[in-house]
Every structure is written in structure tokens, then in C-alpha cells.
């Protein structure tokens, strides 16, 4: 999977978790940019991402996820 393919899949997960079908995220989006990206949404995002990509994040990995790009990079590394 390329980074762009991962990103597209993430876009859909974000839209479904944030319940906003028009939501546009970018590689640079951080929790600071989206009011809806709070603890509850983050926990849901992680659950959805883990099941969609069939991966499991460790706490250490979670602590380093600070924007969409870092999620994409981590996923790319994990599914290879």
C-alpha cells in the first residue's frame, strides 16, 4: 500500500468517526485543527484504524502519533 492509499483509507475512517462526510483532512492535520478530535474520537479512531488495517498499536507508538502524517508513516511500516 502506498502512503496515498493509506491516506485515502484514513480519510474515510476520519469521516465516519467524526460523523462528517465532507471532512477534509491533510497529512498535516493535528488534533489542534479539529475540535471534534478529542479523547473520545481519538480512542474510536485508533479502534477503527486497527481493525481496518489489521494492526495493533503499542502505547509507545501511540505517544508518537501527533498528526495524520505520523499515523500514515506508522501504518506503512506496520503493514509491510
Amino acid at each position: 500500500m502506498t502512503e496515498n492509499e493509506i491516506f485515502e483509507k484514513l480519510q474515510n475512517i476520519f469521516r465516519s468517526v467524526m460523523k462528517n462526510s465532507a471532512l477534509q483532512i491533510t497529512f498535516e492535520t493535528t488534533p489542534n485543527d479539529l475540535a471534534e478530535w478529542d479523547s473520545l474520537a481519538h480512542a474510536q479512531l485508533i479502534t477503527e484504524i486497527e481493525s481496518a488495517f489489521n494492526v495493533k498499536f503499542s502505547l509507545i507508538e501511540m505517544l508518537d502519533l501527533d498528526n495524520v502524517s505520523s499515523i500514515v508513516k506508522l501504518l506503512k511500516q506496520k503493514i509491510q
Binding site: K19, N20, E36, D38, S39, L59
Partner: protein, 481 residues
């Protein structure tokens, strides 16, 4: 010397003078010493003194920076009170609060270049003067301001230390709460009055993730957290190093016993206290100290809220106002010097929320409780439609008010709080109408309320089910979630 000076201003002055090289704050990756903190306080005091209008109550724009915390103490040393205003709130809400309070002076660390003018003496003020006003959700659609006096806070501090919890300058104290929420006051006050360092969670961060990294990397020793934060972290407890944590307070929400057992296993060296209290009675009213590897008192999986703090009198009453007998359930009411003088300019609410009994003035908490045989208080739910979302108090009536307004009162609406599959509280909004797009409704609600109040699910029903007394049957609707 009055109580506020004794419990807050004097200890802080001693720390600023004698421990000035120690760290006071860790904010966004930077440490700040008590000397730097003192400098900010006196600089901001000069801004306050030079204000054109000499107002008693100041708005405080909340940022996660040293200036914001220094502003609180600068205002207190100038004998003034603060009203927190959150930049992420809708403009409507901020304007409504400013208008209600009538404050025009706003301290906003983003814009003022301060001049330095060092002094650590304070302006004399009475214990009856206000220290802060916190606005909480109001069921009529208008946020209501809880006035907390200097005496209220000082009395709280006295109660807090009498629980036996101690803090020293070596402690690393967590501050995860929004400054609009009063547990933040406990979080910074108990640390700063003892010379410890306060570790904050910057705005715009996922709180539980950032808090976990602080606990692990900065070796946090003391902190108050909402149980929901620990619920999010629970899947990672087996890899989470919380061994530095000596004292942990869980508060702001009902606390599940199984979560606490798991937390005890993860945080091997911690003592856990469950604290309970409404904003109206200044931060905490009762507490229960959990015991490691022994049975803790609980009801339906929820830990007991324990016994009243030393300066709090608690009673449980029936609907007619008489005291309950034995283990009978009733409404918990609290009295004492921690109880607010009332809501800001709100006679109706003040008349219904407070009452006199046996020479004491009590506050109706709205919490349904009973006395366990051991003398501990067991929490059994709300008597009204108030919910706790990630620790924030939410009146479902306020959400319904704005949703009805959006529909020009043409549809009936009903907000329901429910537990999701992760056992966390979410809000669903039912609308009695044909199914339609919800984008405009959500957009409207976001322009009126903070984001945690926005329903996470919106469901349409052609006709609301009614119960025997011809009222909308919440239980049937709840089953659809």
C-alpha cells in the same frame, strides 16, 4: 490574616521567596522556575492596575501558558476574581457570559506586552470577595455562573489537607483539566502552595495520550484524573509505566471498581482516592480512599463516594425534605463554608437550589445517594437530566433548547445520555421528524455550545413513543441506541 491569605497567598509568597530556583511549571516542553512565575505575576499586576476601568471581575482568556496561570494569581493578589473564557467556545457563549457578568477587562496572554514591577505584597481583600466565577451548562439554554468566594477556596484547601494527602517540593503534579473546570484549581493550587511543579496538558492535544507520556517520561507523582481518561488508557496498562505515581485522585465522574482494580495493578506504588463534588461546593465534598488488594465499597460496580470532607456537612433527604432513614435513597445535600453564595444574578435558580435546615444553608446536589452501614455515601445516579461527558457537566435540557430553536420549535427533540461499547458516556439527540441531513443542525449546535456538548448521534423518529402518563418514553428511545 484572613483564610484566603493563610491558605493560599502566604504559602505561595513563601515559596516564591524561598524556592525561587525550583520549577513551578512544565508547559509544552518547557520548564519555568518560581522566579519566572513571580516575575510574570508582578508584571501582570501592573497591567491590571493600569486598566482604565477598575472592575472587580476580569475575563481570563485561557491559553496553556505561564501567563494564564500567572494571571490568576495576579488577579487574586489585586483582590479581584476571574471568569475563565475558553477560546474554543463559540463566540455566542463567550459574549453571553461577558454580558451576564458585565466585565469588559479581559486578560489575554496573546496580546499584552507586560512591564515588570516586582512586589509580592498583596492588596487586602475580604474572604467574602469572589475568587472566580465558573459557568456551567444551564438547562434553560443559558449557562449559569457559580460564584466561588475566597473563603470557599480557603475552606476547600483546609479540607483537602485534612485528608492526609501531602505534597512536597519534590513532587511532579499533573494538571490535565480545562481551566473552565474547577478540578483545575485543585490541580494547580495544591502544587504551587507547596513548591511542587505543575505539568500541564497543552490545548489541542489528545489528553489521555499526552497525560500518559507525562506520567511515564516526567515521572508524575501526584495527579487528579477523570476515570474516562483511565478507561482510554486501560488497553495499554500492561505496557504503561506509572510506577512514579504515589497519589492518584479519580474524580469528575462515577468511578468503576473494575477500572480501579486494573489501575492498582498498573500503578504499583499509588494510593487511589475517589473524590466527589459539584462546582457549587468548591471542587470536592466527599472522598473515599481505596484499599489495595482488599474489597472496596461499591454499588452496581461504582465506587462509594465515601465520607464528607472535614468542613462539609452532608445530609440525604426525601422529596419532602425530611431526612432519609437507614439505607433509603434520597438526594444528597451539602452545607458548610465551601458552598457557593449562589449563582450569578439568578434569583430563580438560587431559590430552588439552596435551602435552610436546622440553621444551615444546604445545596441540592441533584445526586441520588444513600448511606451505607459503614457511614459511607453510595452514589446511585442523577435525579434530573444532567450528564457527565469526559468529566464536563452537561444539562441535556440545554442541548434540547438549542436543537428546538434550530427547528423553530416545530419538532420535539430529546437528548439522551447513554453508555457506549467502551463504557463511556455519549449523547444522542432524538428528533421527532422525517429523516433528513443533519449537517446544518450540527453546524448550528456548534455555534452555540462547546464541542463536548454536541450529540455524537442524531436519530429521527416519526413519532416519539409515549409512556402510560403520556410523556415521551425515554427508556424505549434509549433501547434504540
Amino acid at each position: 490574616m484572613n483564610l484566603f491569605e493563610y491558605h493560599i497567598l502566604l504559602p505561595l509568597k513563601n515559596i516564591l521567596r524561598n524556592y525561587s530556583s525550583l520549577n513551578s511549571f512544565y508547559i509544552n516542553g518547557n520548564f519555568y522556575t518560581y522566579r519566572q512565575f513571580a516575575n510574570r505575576i508582578s508584571a501582570i499586576r501592573s497591567v491590571i492596575r493600569s486598566a482604565e476601568k477598575n472592575e472587580k471581575i476580569w475575563g481570563l482568556a485561557l491559553h496553556d501558558d505561564l501567563n494564564t496561570y500567572a494571571s490568576i494569581f495576579a488577579l487574586w493578589m489585586e483582590g479581584k476574581a476571574y471568569v475563565p473564557l475558553h477560546p474554543s467556545w463559540p463566540t455566542d457563549r463567550i459574549e453571553s457570559i461577558k454580558e451576564q457578568v458585565g466585565c469588559t477587562n479581559i486578560l489575554d496572554s496573546c496580546d499584552a506586552p507586560y512591564t515588570i514591577d516586582l512586589t509580592d505584597n498583596w492588596i487586602e481583600a475580604s474572604d467574602d470577595d469572589l475568587a472566580y466565577i465558573l459557568f456551567t451548562s444551564g438547562s434553560t439554554g443559558m449557562p449559569k455562573g457559580v460564584q466561588i468566594s475566597r473563603k470557599n477556596i480557603a475552606t476547600f484547601m483546609d479540607s483537602f489537607w485534612q485528608t492526609g494527602i501531602t505534597i512536597t517540593p519534590d513532587d511532579h503534579c499533573l494538571q490535565v483539566f480545562d481551566l473552565t473546570f474547577d478540578v483545575s484549581v485543585q490541580s494547580y493550587l495544591v502544587a504551587l502552595t507547596q513548591g511542587a511543579c505543575v505539568y500541564t496538558v497543552p490545548y489541542g492535544q489528545v489528553k489521555y495520550i499526552y497525560a500518559a507520556s507525562l506520567i511515564q517520561e516526567q515521572k508524575i507523582t501526584f495527579g487528579a484524573m477523570a476515570p474516562s481518561m483511565l478507561t482510554y488508557l486501560r488497553p495499554y496498562f500492561n505496557e504503561f509505566d506509572a510506577s512514579s505515581m504515589k497519589t492518584c485522585i479519580v474524580t469528575a465522574e462515577a468511578c468503576p471498581i473494575d477500572l480501579m482494580e486494573a489501575w492498582f495493578n498498573c500503578a504499583q506504588n499509588t494510593e487511589i482516592y475517589d473524590f466527589y463534588g459539584p462546582t457549587e461546593a468548591t471542587i470536592y465534598c466527599t472522598y473515599y480512599k481505596l484499599t489495595r488488594s482488599e474489597k472496596n465499597l461499591s454499588l452496581n460496580g461504582i465506587i462509594s463516594i465515601g465520607k464528607p470532607l472535614s468542613n462539609v456537612q452532608a445530609i440525604i433527604i426525601r422529596e419532602d425534605g425530611a431526612l432519609v432513614e437507614g439505607q433509603e435513597k434520597g438526594e444528597l445535600c451539602v452545607a458548610g463554608d465551601q458552598v457557593t453564595i449562589g449563582y450569578w444574578k439568578n434569583d430563580d435558580k438560587n431559590a430552588s437550589s439552596f435551602f435552610e435546615k436546622d440553621g444551615k444553608r444546604y445545596y441540592h446536589t441533584g445526586d441520588l445517594c444513600y448511606w451505607d452501614r459503614s457511614g459511607n455515601i453510595m452514589y446511585s445516579g442523577r435525579i434530573d437530566q444532567q450528564a457527565k461527558i469526559q468529566g464536563f457537566r452537561v444539562e441535556l435540557g440545554e442541548i434540547e433548547y438549542h436543537a428546538r430553536k434550530f427547528y423553530n420549535n416545530e419538532h420535539r427533540v430529546l437528548a439522551i445520555a447513554y453508555q457506549n461499547t467502551h463504557n463511556l458516556t455519549e449523547i444522542a439527540l432524538f428528533v421527532e421528524a422525517e429523516k433528513e441531513k443533519t449537517t446544518d443542525l450540527i453546524y448550528y449546535l456548534r455555534s452555540k455550545m462547546p464541542h463536548y456538548m454536541i450529540p455524537t448521534r442524531i436519530l429521527f423518529e416519526k413519532h416519539f413513543p409515549l409512556n402510560k402518563s403520556e410523556k415521551v418514553d425515554r427508556n424505549i428511545l434509549k433501547q434504540k441506541l
